[in-house]
């Protein structure tokens, strides 16, 4: 009974959807203000969702209907599942086992894979180009992301998010050594969420809507919601790994701090997406491998040195 509550209400589907839509509003409003626009009212993301849900689903004749319909659901499911292993306001996540960090990272790649499969099974040319781009991009940002997230774990000598939180609570200022990794993960997260400058898979001026060209109605609404949830979960993961302070404040203050952390990350993401132009896929890949990956190595190195000399 309790697990159903976890899954459907809190911190599962309902909470994440509401928070996701709220974060979408923050993102859109901030972006609009930065661009000298007024921006949407607070209920706009919800209104968009309801309106899209009421529209007709159009499935291309040549598409594989079951795969086409399955993908948005899968994207949401994977993102929601990941939240259960992330410590939110205390050191204890809802479920934990040793190695859950790796599981969370893999669960967070599933939405990208669904973008690929959804695009591929749409059979439209634009979708397929978008799908291939999504996958190509995945290989570029995933490695720096993994390395930079594993570095703090290495320092804590565990693959479990819970143990990590315990470690960083015991050593309050160690998270400051992981700032570089935080920056790298933030940029990689932009790629994961397909935001400018890494919105290459859905670049509308080039390939119409990329992966989502053929999606409409409820399925598109679900995909969009999936991305919103993924943004929250990604931000929560980053908050848990890189900002592991204030975890002993108790449920209310701790929860507020968690919301604050996530929103800070969301705001930083939207600032980043406002100030850049979209890169080309080749530029994106060489940037990830030539800049991000070496920087992630440096982060790993810092943590290894720390571990060798200070923590023991």
């Amino acid at each position: 009974m309790l697990s159903i509550f976890y899954i459907l209400i809190f911190p599962g589907f309902l909470f994440l959807s509401a928070f996701g839509l709220a974060a979408q509003f923050v993102d859109r409003k901030l972006c609009a203000r930065l661009q000298n626009r007024v921006g949407p009212p607070w209920f706009q993301p919800l209104a968009d969702f309801i309106k899209l849900s009421a529209k007709e689903d159009i499935i291309p004749e040549e598409a594989n209907p079951s795969m086409f319909k399955l993908m948005p659901v899968l994207a949401i499911t994977a993102a929601i599942t990941a939240i259960f292993y992330i410590p939110l306001w205390s050191v204890n996540p809802i479920y934990a086992f040793s190695g859950d960090l790796i599981v969370v990272l893999y669960l967070l790649t599933i939405p990208t894979l669904t973008f690929f499969l959804g695009g591929w099974y749409s059979t439209s040319l634009y979708s397929r180009i978008g799908a291939v781009r999504a996958l190509t991009q995945l290989f570029a940002y995933e490695v720096p992301l993994l390395m930079s997230i594993l570095a703090p774990a290495l320092l804590a000598d565990t693959w479990s998010l819970k143990e990590m939180s315990l470690f960083y609570s015991a050593h309050p200022f160690f998270w400051l050594f992981n700032i570089l990794g935080f920056a790298i993960s933030m940029i990689a997260l932009l790629g994961k969420l397909e935001k400018v400058p890494f919105d290459i898979p859905e670049a509308e001026t080039e390939i119409v809507g990329g992966t989502f060209t053929e999606y409409s109605g409820r399925l598109l609404a679900l995909f969009r919601l999936g991305i919103d949830i993924e943004q929250i979960v990604g931000a929560a993961l980053l908050a848990a790994v890189y900002l592991p302070f204030g975890l002993g404040l108790g449920p209310v203050a701790g929860f507020l701090l968690f919301v604050l952390k996530v929103l800070t990350i969301v705001c930083m993401l939207s600032i980043l997406r406002t100030i850049f132009a979209r890169l080309r896929i080749d530029q994106m890949i060489s940037f990830c491998w030539k800049c991000l990956a070496p920087l992630a190595f440096i982060q790993l190195f810092i943590d290894l040195v720390l571990k060798g000399f200070i923590v023991r």
Binding site: Q35, N36, E206, F276, L279
Partner: protein
Amino acid sequence: MHKVVIPIGPQHPALKEPESFSVTLSGEKIMKFSARLGYNHRGIEKACEERTYIQDVYLTERICGICSHSHSTCFVQAVEEIAGADIPKRALYIRTLVGELERIHSHLLWLGVAGHEVGFDTLLMYTWRDREVVMDILAMLTGNRVNYGINTIGGVRRDVTAEQGKAILKAMDTLEERTNYYIQIATKETTLIQRLSGVGLLSNKDALKLGAVGPTARASGVDRDVRRDDPYAAYAEVKFKVITDNHNDVYGRTLVRVGELLETYKIIRQIIKKMPEGPLTVKVPRKIPAGEAVSRYEAPRGEDMHYVKSNGTEKPDRVKVRAPTLANIQTVAKMLEDRQLADLPIVIAAIDPCFSCTDRLTGIRHAGKRSKSVLKWEELHAYSIRHYREHGIDFAELNKKMRKALK
């Protein structure tokens, strides 16, 4: 690698007007590019032959929404040349003023579109906001944001007052400051430079060979500008530099356009300062004597050319329009050689295409003759009224209500 042919257009988010491009891709690389133009034909050249000269002024103005003043000026210049009219100085200055204001609005618009094509929407929002400044000025001078209707055969229809002159000078100061800021962005913002430089290369030799015009040519080091080479209106009496650049790429085209913006502000300041007093129009007979003339005009996008032939009646015998995009569109295939799909929108956008200018002519479908699904105009009209009534909207009722409310 497997090759795919993807259609860009006739409807595509990257294109603001319907044109069809077909791109053969190998992976992300463009192997072949071909264009099919003609989706915007409205039969304007033929229509010009069936209307009077004064009607044609307004018709040519509607060839294009952005460079409307360019077309109408180009047309009236040709007609005035045939008629041998001596246009008052003040009218020429006002024409130049509106033409240059139009250049500002067109170039700012382009800058925003270029930003949008490379996914830099912030630039779009900023430039289009600043574009409102010049749009307001144009609305103040002419009563319209586009299609100014200021030209008439023999002069201009509205005067510029001293207060308006002051407002324009003030707006120029604002715009100059903003343009300097954009120059800073264009030359410093890394991702933007990455997307623009080296993209859409057109060597000086190719630009000359393919007959590129306007900023597209000038960014490839072709030092041509009709305003200087073949001065019309008041351009012989103002000082300005022709901006050229040797980058040969989209980045160069951006620099040329923002550079031209700065020159335009200088021109406008000189015009306001020097504008002579005097009448606005001279009388030109309704029937233009037989003759022919060629008129050239440096539109924001490049050289615009009108050829007018008259036959002594009140309607022209032939009007030929060559819009700048038609000259430039042929360079696009060259620019896209060995480029990636991602570069296509910005390369096409970099010539600042205006397809409705390009496709100005030609007629109508043979309604009812060729295809049964074609509705006659009256049928379409009746159908639309019926359709809205069925959906509970009655325009007749609404109009009545509106009139009442206005009283």
